[in-house]
Symmetry: C2
Subunit: 155 residues, 2 copies
Amino acid sequence: MLDDGQNLTHEISAKIDFSPMEEAVGYRLRRAQLAVYQDFTETFEKEELRPADFAVLMLVSKNPGLKQSEVAEVLGIQRANFVAIIDGLEKKGVAERRKSDTDRRVQSLYITDKGRAYLDEITPIWRKHDERQMERLGGPAARDQLISLLKRLYD
Amino acid sequence: MLDDGQNLTHEISAKIDFSPMEEAVGYRLRRAQLAVYQDFTETFEKEELRPADFAVLMLVSKNPGLKQSEVAEVLGIQRANFVAIIDGLEKKGVAERRKSDTDRRVQSLYITDKGRAYLDEITPIWRKHDERQMERLGGPAARDQLISLLKRLYD
C-alpha cells in the first residue's frame, strides 16, 4: 500500500513544477515525518497505537508521577490533543491520572501494571520500526547526523 | 514567546529520563517540524496562513489546472483536511475550483489574480522564514545535507 502511494506520487510529481517548495526545510520535514508516522501507524495498526501514545507511555514509565502539563510540554503536544491521548491510555488501562501528593489540584501520570506488560510487549516492535528508519537513512552514522541537524532547529 | 517555551522545556527536560525517545527518528522529526511550523505560523499570524495553505497556493500558481486529488497527493495532505484548505483559499478569493475541461466530474484548481498578487506579497516573507531555518541549521551546506537525509525517508 505504501509502495503504491509512493509510485503514484512519483508519477504525478514528474510533470509538476515544484519550486521553491522542493528545497523548503519545513515542507521536507513534514513529508519525511509523515512517511515515518505512516510506517509507525501501519506497524501498530492492530493495537490502534499512535506515535504520541507510545511517547507518552514510554515517558511516564521512566518518570512516574510527572505532571500532565510537564509531559505535554516535554513532548510538544497541545493541551487539547493531550487530554484525548491520556483518556485513550486510561481507557486501555495502561496509564492513570492521580492527584499529586504535593498539590491536590495537579494531576500526575502513572503507568499501570498492565501498561508495563504492554510496553514490554510493544517496545521490541517499536525498535524494529525505528531501525527501519535508520536503514532507510543509510545506517547509524546517517541517523546520528540527521538527529544532530534536527536538534539545531529547536534546541 | 518561542524562547520562553523553549526555556521551560529545557528546565523540565533536565530532570527527565528520556531514553529511548532521545534518539528516535520519528520523535526528533516531529519536534523539529513543530518548531519550523511554529516559526511559520508566527510569521504569518496576521494573514492566518498555515504552511499547507502556502504550499497549495504555490503549487497551484506554478501548475494551474491540476486536479484536486493530484495536489493533495503530491503534498501528502489527507482528503478531509484538503477540502478545508481549498475552502479557506476560495473564501479568501486567492484560489478557485473549476470543472476540468477534459472531465466534467473532476475539479481542477487555479490561482486567481488576487491570489497572484497575494503570493507576490507573501513569498519574500516566506523566503525569510525559510532562510531562518537554514541559518539555524548552520548554512546552505547543512540545509542541503538535511534535505538529502530527509528524502531518503520517503523517496
